[in-house]
Symmetry: C2
Subunit: 192 residues, 2 copies
């Protein structure tokens, strides 16, 4: 909805997502999320996430930013910090070390976390996976305690980096959520 | 041949290879070497190599070493240093930063470089790829100047780290090469 609004207002917008985004990122995504790859170790998981991200930064994101395009990316380094750094326990330093190499200093102006209680979020993900017969479910299949750590870490991040990382209440209809998203974007533009 | 000899002498031996080695590493190898993935950027290439390596270290190599098994690995971090660090120009520091995260301090006791002049080596690789109809040829398809940089970097490494990295003349029949390989292994054991 945000992308649509921005385009109507005359902006060029790149919508991208991770892991994935590029054709090579799509191949990496299948390795990362295939529900059969249960033995994937946390460090390999981290490096695959950033391999996909480095390719996206190099091939799509930096060229888009250079042309003045607005880039909307579904997940970025903040997700790696939360999932691999904190929930998997690799530590924030390791994540930032790899980020420095993969993203070359690129930090999102704004990270919006669509927040919802863990049980509801997992139930939604599982319904969606069943409906679409998705096999890219390895992370969704982690237990409740893993997903609780993920949520807590996002909350903590929104405190530690409160100007850049904003929680949005996700337990509402999409139109209401989109209104809050737009408000945060307008506030960012006003600050700049 | 070395693995066979060591097993005959009563050693447990793990033969592994990179990129690949593990089932997940095999999936990463296909992304890395698929001749269609020409747009893969150097940083993503580096991170994929180390994702495969981290999985191999975690799943096979560290458990094998803990049991006293001899590990023979076809390529390791020295290859990343040479290909991504030097021939691709990412720099040695970047390679060692990722190595520290992926390999947790693991350094091979001995790296043997089967050395051959660039033209002969490339001609062999291309004959083999044609014969086996291999599609994992992205790196073999790099030009002569890339492969010359790779060879020079291996030579330099064998000077800079001369106790650990040894050149073996590869322009001979396999049995002669295997004799030199065995000599280097015996010298390593004698030093320990």
């Amino acid at each position: 909805m945000l992308a649509q609004q921005l385009r109507t207002e005359g902006h060029d917008v790149l919508e991208t997502a991770e892991p994935g985004g590029t054709p090579i990122g799509g191949q990496i995504r299948r390795v990362l999320l295939d529900s059969k790859n249960r033995e994937l170790c946390p460090t390999a998981e981290l490096l695959l996430m950033f391999a996909s991200r480095a390719q996206n930064v190099d091939q799509y994101i930096l060229p888009a930013l250079a042309k003045g395009t607005v880039v909307l990316c579904d997940r970025f380094t903040d997700s790696s910090l939360v999932y691999q750094g904190i929930a998997r326990g690799l530590g924030a330093d390791v994540v930032y070390d790899v980020d420095r190499i993969a993203c070359r200093g690129l930090v999102p102006d704004l990270t919006l976390v669509i927040d919802i209680d863990t049980e509801t979020g997992l139930a939604r993900a599982r319904q969606r996976n069943d409906r679409t017969q998705d096999v890219e479910t390895r992370l969704d299949e982690e237990g409740l305690s893993f997903h609780r750590k993920v949520r807590e870490a996002y909350h903590q991040l929104s405190v530690d980096d409160s100007r850049r990382v904003k929680l949005i209440d996700g337990d509402r209809v999409p139109e209401e959520i989109a209104k809050d998203v737009r408000m945060q974007v307008d506030a960012l533009v006003a600050r700049k």
